[in-house]
């Protein structure tokens, strides 16, 4: 197992390099001169030169690339051009909120999606299958900001069960958790669609496998046949989907943070886009790149956890 983890860690490195390079390229394909864009037409040549120098744009491209990589490797994300503070500091203050939202969202999505998918497969064609089908259809259809707005209207405005602002300081745990409910539910609800759907089809496949018959022939109780023998196998495609869903989840968390007015990477990136804060944008993309690579790694490790054929050779 330890070797497996180590191997996956090493294999994540090329991906990390590739995604970081993508960030570099994306930020450099800005049409025109960023310095000109930032300072505007009235800027003096002197100011432009100074800004280009500050942004490291006055050296050859490959040099910029090396400097960028070196800086990232040292954990240096640069200085925000607009706020004049280190990007990492800005990110660090809001990152816990985004991570909290994302993890609770995934947790809720799996917590609701797995049982729904299992029960739908078990009672195929029954009412719970219909519920699962419609839940999936709705979850796949709802853009995150629309489900967020409707939840806000229903559960915070019409029925004032939850605060309108989806955040309260960590120092006040009860209020903090209450404020987290709606945003996390919003992410979780959309994720339920994906999880329930794959769980259902995975369960239908594994329930018709020979080893299920073997388990029943041993006298294993029906409950364990479903939740141990069948579900353990159905988890393999679920891991795939949760991994793939991560990209959508990040986008949805940005929208959710805006709707519920929560601090987080989402509001930071929208602010940076509006301010044309290129260093901040680049820093945020590096963070997203790290998150993506981390999620891929977590998916790989999860595969190993649920499928011994990958872990043990």
């Amino acid at each position: 197992m330890l070797r497996f983890v180590a191997l996956r860690l090493v294999m994540a490195l090329p991906t990390l390099w590739a995604v970081l390079s993508l960030v570099f390229v994306l930020v450099r394909i800005v049409p025109g001169d960023p310095a000109l864009v930032i300072l505007g037409d009235q800027a003096t040549e002197q100011a432009l030169v100074a800004l280009r120098h500050r942004m490291g744009l006055d050296v050859p491209l490959w040099d910029q690339y090396l400097q960028f990589m070196a800086a990232v490797l040292q954990g240096d994300l640069g200085i925000s051009m607009v706020r004049n503070r280190p990007v990492w500091g800005e990110v660090a203050t809001v990152l816990p909120y985004t991570l909290e939202l994302t993890f609770v969202g995934i947790f809720l999505g799996v917590l609701m999606g797995l049982p729904l998918g299992v029960l739908a497969a078990q009672h195929r064609g029954g009412w719970i299958d219909a519920v699962a089908r419609w839940t999936s259809l709705l979850g796949l259809s709802f853009p995150a900001f629309i489900s967020g707005i409707l939840m806000l209207l229903l559960l915070a405005v019409e029925l004032p069960w939850f605060p309108v602002i989806g955040n309260a300081p960590f120092a006040n745990p009860p209020a903090h958790l209450r404020a987290l409910v709606l945003p996390a539910l919003n992410l979780g609800f959309i994720m339920v669609a994906y999880v329930a759907r794959v769980t259902r089809s995975g369960m239908l496949a594994s329930l018709s496998e020979d080893y299920i018959r073997t388990a029943r022939a041993k006298g294993v109780p029906a409950r364990l046949v479903v939740w141990r023998h069948a579900l353990r196998n159905a988890l393999i495609p679920v891991v795939t989907v949760v991994g793939l869903y991560f990209g959508i989840l990040i986008g949805n968390s940005v929208l959710t943070e805006i709707v519920f007015n929560r601090p987080g990477l989402g509001k930071l990136i929208v602010g940076a886009l509006n301010d044309r804060d290129y260093t901040m944008l680049q820093g945020l993309m590096v963070i997203y790149a790290l998150v993506v690579v981390g999620a891929n790694l977590a998916t790989d490790l999860a595969y190993g956890a649920v499928d011994p054929r990958i872990r043990v050779r």
Partner: protein, 285 residues
């Protein structure tokens, strides 16, 4: 005993017709498309006519969906917004299909190192969150109609490239392609005449699925404030304006939200129906 092998196989067309969710989805989508196409004739008001007195009016007999901050009729804006939203979604999907399809076919056909390189780039692009990528590209390109469409299209190129490449790899080994090569046909001709028609089916199914994503991406970008500049009505931008007045005039956000939701539902129902109709395994029930 082959107990599992029970179930009458029907033709794909038969299953598609017998599939209620597919038909309902098509009906809903046709309805919305008709609304968009007929906007100049059926929308009760000009979507940009302002009426300061009617600012933030609740839904009533004159304004079924109410009015916005500038007193514009929300129903008319939603109907006109359908035009832009559907247009952006459809055109950007078509572009990603074209670009992604070409890249995929070329990559698969050429093969070797080139193929590996292209696919590695596609994988990296694919691994980056789609909405974040869209945000960055729009921010870099600017926010006019062409750039918006292009930005949304670019984010969807990698999945289309993957879909087109798969069948190309196996098709190029087949006899008719070999024969074409032996007859001295140009590579371009082989790709266009022999490979493209065989890949097209997969691309179209994929396209129908991505249309929903493209429309959603446009709405999301507009909602964030990176869509088309005002006063152009798109569903995302109407919702954004509604969101700013959410507590005073919830109808402003709710009605366009429902419009987006209906299109998403329709497209997903069509997608599910198509999948059930084309996948014999899913149809046995």
């Amino acid at each position: 005993m082959a107990v599992g092998a029970i179930g009458a196989p029907k033709g794909i067309a038969g299953r598609a017709l017998g599939n209620r969710s597919l038909m309902a989805g098509v009906a809903l989508l046709v309805f919305i498309i008709l609304l968009a196409v007929l906007a100049p004739w059926i929308s009760p008001y000009d979507p940009n006519d302002q009426d300061a007195i009617a600012s933030l009016g609740a839904p009533n007999a004159q304004h079924w969906f109410g009015t916005d901050f500038f007193g514009r009729d929300v129903l008319s804006r939603v109907i006109w917004g359908a035009r832009v939203s559907l247009f952006v979604g459809a055109v950007s999907t078509a572009i990603s299909m074209l670009l992604g399809g070409s890249i995929g076919i070329l990559s698969g056909y050429v093969g070797g190192r080139f193929d590996q390189g292209v696919m590695a780039v596609m994988d990296v692009l694919l691994s980056f969150p789609q909405l974040i990528m869209g945000l960055i590209i729009v921010a870099l390109l600017g926010a006019n109609l062409t750039d918006l469409i292009l930005a949304i299209a670019i984010t969807a190129v990698p999945p289309f490239a993957r879909v087109a490449r798969g069948p190309t790899l196996s098709l190029k080994e087949r006899d008719f392609v070999e024969a074409g090569r032996a007859l001295g046909f140009s590579n371009l001709r082989i790709m266009l005449v022999h490979i493209l028609p065989n890949v097209l089916d997969d691309l179209i199914v994929m396209g129908s699925l991505w249309l929903a994503t493209a429309i959603r991406t446009e709405a999301s970008l507009s909602f964030i404030g990176l869509g088309l500049p005002p006063p152009t009505a798109t569903w995302g931008s109407i919702i954004r304006e509604g969101f700013e007045n959410l507590l005073d005039a919830p109808w402003l956000a709710v009605f366009p939200s429902l419009a987006v939701l209906i299109v998403m539902l329709a497209l997903n129902m069509i997608g599910d129906g198509l999948r059930d109709a084309t996948d014999p395994k899913a149809a046995v029930s």
